[in-house]
């Protein structure tokens, strides 16, 4: 139980009327403390009872008209006190004026009223006394200390059922479990109520603890964030965990309870506070504790599936160090959290699935050394994290799927020697990492799919002798790596698809004698390697397919090199299936090459070479 001492409280008045009867409106007034008060009696709205008796004899009861009440304040009379003077002037003018009750804990209540009497007297043994009677004329507006300065924000408390209604009109109060919540009253004093006017979308009220439950299909409430937006802190207390976030929410409609109705860290709101103006750590902790005391789950430590929890929460500017130690599935968890600039070292030691986890976190400049040792699926995990300038040496030793894992991490200038020994799929893994100037000798010995793996890594000047012995698909693998000046003698003995593999590697001058014996498709493979002059003999002696369409178009092959290629194709004996060869640029073949062309054409090949033979 939280008790507050009465000592230290006081009453203030203002002769003015606020522009709006909200905390912001009242806070804008100039206030004068009423001196000499010894007590502020209790006050607040009371409804008359309306009854209707059925023939059954049961008396049905309803709320009638509200009366906002009255108080009589005992005072030590001081004719020079500015606050008492305002009361006396108000009595004379019969004007409605503003009152502010301040409690010792900083909580404030605003209310409008009229001074109906200001009686004065005296007695032996006491100071001269007065008593002022005030009749209140409007509903009071209670403001937590966090909003006293007129700060904008929202405070939603599902455990205050009086703030909930089934419809936006407020005419059907929420009373029992499963009632829809179409109106969730804002308790910050700012009238930023959360509402829903589409019948299928309201969350439902649940008890034990009291909460607003979202179906994660289409349910959400909408708060209209006022001009200026909210830049500050959000404390979100759910049935699965409670945490505080830095937020930057623009003016306009804002989803409460799930981005688009789909993504939410839990399944129900117990309480949510958003304040324009950052809370201190102590304030956040106090609000979290307050929500937890009212039924929210404190920690995310029991959650195993974080799938899509914060997906599309682009308003989050900082993420807390929550307990994620039980998490096994982090798929999509922070996808498109595009305002996060850093990420905390959360415990992901049990995590197996990280697919899309940080995709499109495009403002992250660094990433912590989290424990990913159990991670199997890193599919698109850091896709488009294009502000990352470095990447830590995380444990990826169990990782199998690295499909598009670092795609378009275009600010990475280096990459660590992570353990990728279990990796099978490296498709597009480092595509468009355009600032990488070197690449480590990672273990890719289990990799079968290198489709577009390093495509458009335009700053790579060299490439390591990685183990690609299991690689089958090298389609577009190094396309556009136009700063590579050399290429290593990697093992491509299992490779079948080399479609555009080295296309536009325009700085390569020579090429190694790789094993192409399983190769079927060499379509455009070296096209636009415009500096390529030297190509080895016998490289295609054992290929299994004849698709060399435009394979050497726009190259600079020497006559020896083009002869080497044509003779090697003859040696392959390909006489069925696709049989197309293309070369342009560089030298025309010699008579040796022309003889090879004749043989190829006799086997059904279509051959195009420099010089037009």
């Amino acid at each position: 139980m939280a008790l507050t001492e009465g000592i230290g409280g006081f009453l203030s008045v203002s002769a003015a009327t606020p522009v709006t009867f909200s905390s912001a409106g009242y806070a804008a007034l100039t206030w004068t403390e009423v001196g000499g008060a010894s007590e502020i009696p209790e006050f607040g709205a009371a409804y008359s009872a309306v009854t209707f008796t059925l023939m059954t004899g049961i008396v049905n009861k309803f709320h009638g008209e509200p009366n906002y009440g009255s108080i009589t304040i005992p005072l030590a009379y001081d004719p020079a006190d500015a606050g008492q003077i305002i009361l006396l002037v108000s009595l004379a003018s019969k004007n409605e004026i503003s009152f502010r009750e301040t409690r010792s804990d900083g909580t404030v209540r605003y209310i409008m009223g009229k001074v109906m009497s200001f009686l004065r007297g005296q007695s032996v043994g006491s100071v001269n006394m007065a008593s002022c009677n005030i009749e209140f004329t409007r509903a009071d507006v209670e403001v937590l200390p966090l909003f006293i300065g007129g700060q904008q924000g929202v405070l939603l408390e599902a455990f205050d059922i009086g703030t909930l209604s089934q419809t936006i009109s407020g005419t059907r109060p929420v009373t029992v479990a499963n009632d829809p919540i179409g109106y969730f009253g804002d308790k910050s004093g700012n009238d930023n109520h959360a509402t829903q006017t589409t019948a299928a979308r309201p969350p439902t009220y649940q008890t034990g603890p009291a909460r607003a439950k979202f179906d994660k299909v289409d349910d959400r409430l909408i708060v209209t964030v006022p001009t200026g937006g909210f830049t500050g802190t959000m404390v979100l207390a759910t049935d699965q965990g409670t945490a505080s976030y830095g937020v930057n929410i623009p003016a306009g409609p804002y989803d409460i309870g799930g981005r688009g109705g789909l993504y939410f860290p839990g399944s129900a709101i117990v309480g949510q506070l958003i304040r324009d103006g950052a809370l201190s750590e102590g304030e956040s902790a106090a609000i979290e504790a307050y929500f937890v005391a009212n039924g929210a789950t404190a920690s995310y430590g029991a959650v195993t599936d974080f799938g899509s929890y914060w997906a599309d929460w682009s308003e989050i500017t900082s993420f807390p160090l929550i307990d994620t130690s039980a998490g096994t599935d982090f798929s999509y968890a922070w996808r498109d959290c595009s305002s996060l600039t850093s990420f905390p070292p959360i415990d992901t030691s049990a995590g197996a699935r990280f697919s899309y986890a940080w995709r499109d976190c495009s403002s992250l400049t660094s990433f912590p050394l989290i424990d990913t040792s159990a991670g199997i699926n890193f599919d698109r995990a850091w896709y488009n994290c294009n502000s990352l300038t470095s990447f830590p040496l995380i444990d990826t030793s169990a990782g199998i799927n690295f499909d598009r894992a670092w795609y378009n991490c275009s600010s990475l200038t280096s990459f660590p020697l992570i353990d990728t020994s279990a990796g099978i799929n490296f498709s597009l893994a480092w595509r468009e990492c355009t600032s990488l100037t070197s690449f480590p000798l990672i273990d890719t010995s289990a990799g079968t799919n290198f489709d577009r793996a390093w495509r458009s890594c335009t700053s790579l000047t060299s490439f390591p002798l990685i183990d690609t012995s299991a690689g089958i698909n090298f389609s577009l693998a190094w396309l556009g790596c136009n700063s590579l000046t050399s290429f290593p003698l990697i093992d491509t003995s299992a490779g079948t698809n080399f479609d555009r593999a080295w296309r536009d590697c325009s700085s390569l001058t020579s090429f190694p004698l790789i094993d192409t014996s399983a190769g079927i498709n060499f379509n455009y493979a070296w096209r636009d390697c415009s500096s390529l002059t030297s190509f080895p003999a016998n490289i295609f002696d054992n290929v299994k397919g004849g698709n060399f369409t435009d394979a050497f178009t726009n190259t600079a092959l020497t006559q020896t090199s083009i002869d080497n290629i044509l003779v090697s194709l003859v040696t392959s004996g390909i006489a069925a299936g696709t049989r197309v060869f293309g070369q342009s640029g560089g030298s025309a073949p010699s008579s040796t090459g022309e003889a090879a062309i004749d043989t190829l054409r006799s086997r059904g090949w279509t051959v195009t070479v420099t010089g037009g033979y």
């Binding site: 419809t167 499963n178 829809p180 179409g182 006017t197 589409t198 019948a199 299928a200 979308r201 309201p202 439902t204 179906d215 994660k216 299909v217 289409d218 349910d219 688009g260 789909l262 996808r335 899309y356 995709r359 499109d360 698109r380």
Partner: protein, 125 residues
């Protein structure tokens, strides 16, 4: 009772007219908007889930009347009736179909959608 409804892409306009009759008012034209779900065949659906009364289910399967709020004839009654004609209502999950408005009872909306053969669409490629 919680009812989870899968509306195929082609029926969205008609189904939103139907929703205005069964729901609160004109804002219910936004009931089926985002095509966030798909079946095994790749057909897209907009889905909704809500708690309903027996009155709702009865009304959904009875002759449709223009709602009292619709004095200005916002609701296209013909479209609403077309949507109603495709309605499949079931107390247990049934497979969603691309030419039916499929409504299934079930306490857990996500579990019901899964049982209807629907998965969340991967928007990104």
């Amino acid at each position: 009772m919680r009812l989870t409804i899968a509306c195929p892409d082609a029926l969205r306009d008609d189904a939103n007219q139907f929703a205005m009759i069964l729901g609160y008012g004109p804002d219910d034209v936004q009931t089926y908007v985002a095509l966030n779900w798909q079946d095994a065949g790749g057909n897209l659906y907009a889905c909704a889930s809500l708690t309903v009364s027996d009155t709702f289910t009865t009304a959904a399967q009875s002759g449709l009347q223009r709602p009292a709020w619709d004095a200005d004839s916002h609701v296209n009654m013909d479209a609403a009736r077309r949507a109603q004609a495709t309605l499949v209502f079931s107390l247990t999950p049934v497979t969603a179909m691309p030419d039916k408005l499929t409504a299934c009872a079930g306490d857990d909306a996500l579990a019901t959608l899964a049982a209807m053969g629907l998965t969340q669409v991967e928007v990104y490629v």
